[in-house]
Amino acid sequence: MKIAIASGKGGTGKTTIATSLAHLAATDGRTVAYLDCDVEEPNGHLFLKPQILREEPINKLIPVVDADRCTHCGLCSQACRFGAIACVGQQTLIFTELCHSCGGCLLVCPQEAIREVPKPIGLLRIGTSGPLQFVEGVLNVGEAMSPPAIHAVKDAAPDVDLTILDCPPGTSCPVIESVRGCDHLLLVTEPTPFGLNDLKLAVEMARALKLRFGVAVNRANTGDREVWSYCRRQRIDILAEIPDDRAVAEAYSRGEIVVESVPQVAECIRSLLETLQSGAPA
């Protein structure tokens, strides 16, 4: 079973909940993997403190032109919708940072003068945190395109009973790439106007992707009650309400797994895990 943890807004407690769920499930004897799909800002390792067993480069494929074969016909430049190829005079220039690896230039070249080579855009780190399997992707700073790195993290996932995917914030391409194919999506929010606004966007995304999803309200005893009214109107299940507690914030700030440090939160997370795995909510 694959459970993705996401939220429209950043800083709602996604990683706190994802690391806690993964840690609890793994200590219960199931085989569990935690995947950090937030390749721009991966944080799970700060809490899970994994032992990294191997590292591999994450590559994207980029085209290379064989100058001897190239006749400067310009077809590759015309075919590239991403503006990454220029044919000027006797040169064909390729701007690899704009390349989306679609392969169109290779297909269109009548001289078969283009081949693809891998270019590193980040690092895949695979290891264990106690009984928990750990995979994260780290995108190189200055690299703009994260979906290929997220794809690599998901490809490297081990075959286990339960996979927890910690997703990047927002609702655009990196999130879509992360949540695609999950069995259940948990949207983490907080009961504030910002939290609710971003939850609505995340719900729209979940519905567009036809994913089964539920909501976890973090810091549930702060803010206002609008999130509850919204979920009731929209018939969305609230699967967990996690109270705000200075002990949680402090444990988090120190980089501790919250379920280890704060017992009352551990109870919330345990019941959330059971709900998610029972598959009851629609």
Binding site: R81, L93, T96, L139, T192, F194, E204
Partner: protein, 318 residues
């Protein structure tokens, strides 16, 4: 004209609350919400929309079922798993191919290579952008469609629009709410700005993400200043953040204490400095004074979202 970008690396650190307060204190600024993925600033500033435009970026493919012969070539060539064999039948074949528009990257390969001319490739509307009036001055913002992409291009467009507006109305300052992360939209938010204000929380992850976005900012040649939000949550990490900043030429300009008035202000749809005179509001006022000093010293925002190059690398092959 100066452009201040408020940025955080990690989301949810209080960036938008600070931008709203700055907008209220500045009065004369043009405000831009570059956090197009999770735009929240409008909830506090309650803009009256005056101009509304569609935002188009790239194209998306669509299979015309009547023309599809189900040969499967498009599915084979698509690198983005965007083509499925579950479209309606058409008399010639029992089922046709269909394109998942969310997965479609807009590369046009299927369109170019379809032997039966069964694929359309049309410009895609990804969202809308707005020019509005708020109680704190004009605001440029946007709403991306569900699962829409290309937010980097949209961010660049919003900043350009704000620059044109500021030039036309002779406003001296652009105040920009940046987006989280270090990818495309963030690069688009920062390129060519006068100054970046990092709003960071003293947590293990806040620290980690700050280090990465600070690297990015340095690489783009944008000077930075740091404010630690909820600084009293962990004094040790706060000091550590400030030390890192100083070592990297990032001035430390403020500490904001944890204060429930911040959430209360948000619920009342007000900026913290409008709703409260408590400790957080006071700290934000001080932060604004400090920020203005650094902003005056910084370089003007270059026309069209450009920055003069410090040093550069070129990446191209022949």
């Amino acid at each position: 004209m100066k452009e201040l970008v408020v940025i955080s690396g990690k989301g949810g650190t209080g960036k938008t609350s600070i931008v709203a307060s700055f907008a209220s204190l500045a009065k004369e600024a043009v405000i831009v919400d570059c956090d197009v993925d999770a735009a929240d600033l409008h909830l506090v500033l309650q803009p009256q929309i005056q101009r509304r435009e569609d935002f188009t970026a790239g194209s998306k493919a669509r299979i015309m079922p009547g023309h599809c012969t189900a040969c499967g070539k498009c599915e084979e060539l698509c690198r983005f798993d965007a083509i499925y064999y579950d479209g309606p039948g058409n008399g010639k074949v029992p089922k046709t191919f269909r394109i998942d528009t969310i997965a479609c990257e807009g590369c046009g390969v299927c369109f170019d290579f379809c032997d039966d001319k069964a694929i359309e490739f049309e410009p895609a509307v990804c969202g809308q952008w707005f020019v509005s009036q708020t109680r704190c001055g004009p605001m440029v913002h946007a709403r991306l469609g569900v699962a829409a992409e290309n937010s980097g291009k949209l961010v660049t467009h919003l900043r350009r629009t704000a620059q044109e507006l500021a030039a036309r109305q002779k406003r001296e300052m652009i105040l920009c709410d940046g987006s989280p992360g270090i990818g495309c939209p963030v690069i688009a938010s920062l390129t060519g700005a006068s100054l970046a204000l990092f709003v960071v929380e003293p947590t293990a992850s806040g620290r980690h993400d700050f280090l990465r976005v600070a690297q990015l900012t340095m690489r783009l040649g944008v000077p930075g200043i740091l404010a630690v939000n909820k600084a009293d949550l962990n004094e040790e990490v706060t000091s550590d953040l400030e030390e890192f900043a100083r070592q990297n030429g990032i001035a430390v300009v403020g500490r904001i204490p944890y204060d429930p008035a911040v959430t209360q202000a948000q619920i009342a749809r007000k900026a913290v400095v409008e709703a409260s005179s408590g400790p957080a509001a006071e700290a934000i006022r001080d932060l604004w004074t400090q920020t203005q000093t650094y902003l005056h010293r910084s370089a003007p925002a270059a026309a069209g979202g450009f920055v003069q190059l410090a040093g550069q690398q070129q990446e191209s092959t022949t």
